[in-house]
Symmetry: C2
Subunit: 202 residues, 2 copies
């Protein structure tokens, strides 16, 4: 779990090989991937696998966290671009679209997505929520995001993203529909603000 500060050379090599093998096999077969298969693919004995990751869940978690890190990087990059003046709704569409595309090829992405909502690592979750809040604020400021949308809503959208069980065309259409539910109502300019029943930001 906690990577020791210093690792024997062969141990470090083994760990890297295990992670690489796990990335490949778990992305392809999900949790169905067998520990023996992963060990063989990594060129180590099962015992070695278990020395580095005490349980299969720990190994999966490591892969998922790794991927969550990449997602956070993408999020940070989007925030940076928005700070530089790019359109928030455009960056958000791009971000969610990239994640959805990834989720179509890698079974781990959905799990990484869920980690945003159910904090396994609270610090990472806070990092994500901070980034999402920046995007939401920018979207509200430029008037392209629906006024009642919150960072939590983005988490909901991301965690209900389709995986590879839906064909690509459907995943693409999902993105359109999802963004439609996030976007500001553009048909009528937001002058009087709708009195419907939207829980306004008070």
């Amino acid at each position: 779990m906690t990577t020791p500060s210093r690792l024997r050379a062969d141990a470090a090599r083994n760990r890297a090989n295990i992670l690489r093998a796990a990335r490949t096999l778990i992305a392809a077969h999900g949790e169905r991937a067998g520990m023996d298969d992963i060990a063989r693919e990594a060129g180590v004995a099962v015992g070695t696998l278990y020395r580095h990751f005490p349980t299969k869940a720990d190994l999966v978690d490591a892969i998922v966290s790794e991927l969550a890190g990449l997602i956070f990087d993408a999020l940070d990059a989007a925030v940076a671009r928005v700070d530089s003046g790019d359109s928030a709704i455009k960056e958000l569409t791009h971000l969610i679209g990239r994640m959805s595309e990834a989720a179509g090829h890698d079974r781990t992405v959905k799990a990484a997505m869920a980690n945003l909502g159910v904090p396994v690592h609270p610090d990472l979750t806070e990092r994500a929520m901070t980034g999402l809040a920046r995007l939401v604020a920018a979207g509200h400021a430029e008037g392209t995001l629906h006024p009642d949308i919150t960072p939590g809503d983005l988490v909901i959208v991301m965690s209900t993203m389709p995986d590879d069980e839906l064909p690509e065309a459907a995943r693409h259409r999902w993105l359109e529909l999802a963004m439609r539910s996030l976007a500001a109502p553009d048909a009528t300019p937001p002058a009087g603000d709708e009195p419907s029943r939207g829980p306004g930001p008070a």
Copy 2:
């Protein structure tokens, strides 16, 4: 799989007990439910379980199909009400809302949902698509459904419905967002229940 036209009295009783036990345990624990546990709960030996359902997947499939049947019934009822003059968007909201609520308590519902898109039983799928097409047509006619929405879009929405991994408040908020993506641009989506702030998972 194919239920024999006549079944010995004890066999029929066993089958019913197995289905009831499976409903309970699979709804609660998903596919993690053990075959031995289901057999014990049903009061039969494992061999008997396997005589009725050659494989665990078959048993799960039976439960899922059963539930899909209930969903289709609900769909047909909605179509009937719309034919009687009820609002299509309102019935659609109610229908998806009920399914979402069910999915929050029963891990099988999502699987049943997926059956709509990936036809396990083509005839059932066709029945569902016919019903959905009626609702879509009615929604277009009354102008409450977004003009470009198709029955396939409803399948996408239903198969990306959140399960019990999202808390109830988030599931409720999901419904609002989903209906927003389906509604006509100028229409105010009817909310059967009071809208809740959807802050997502804490």
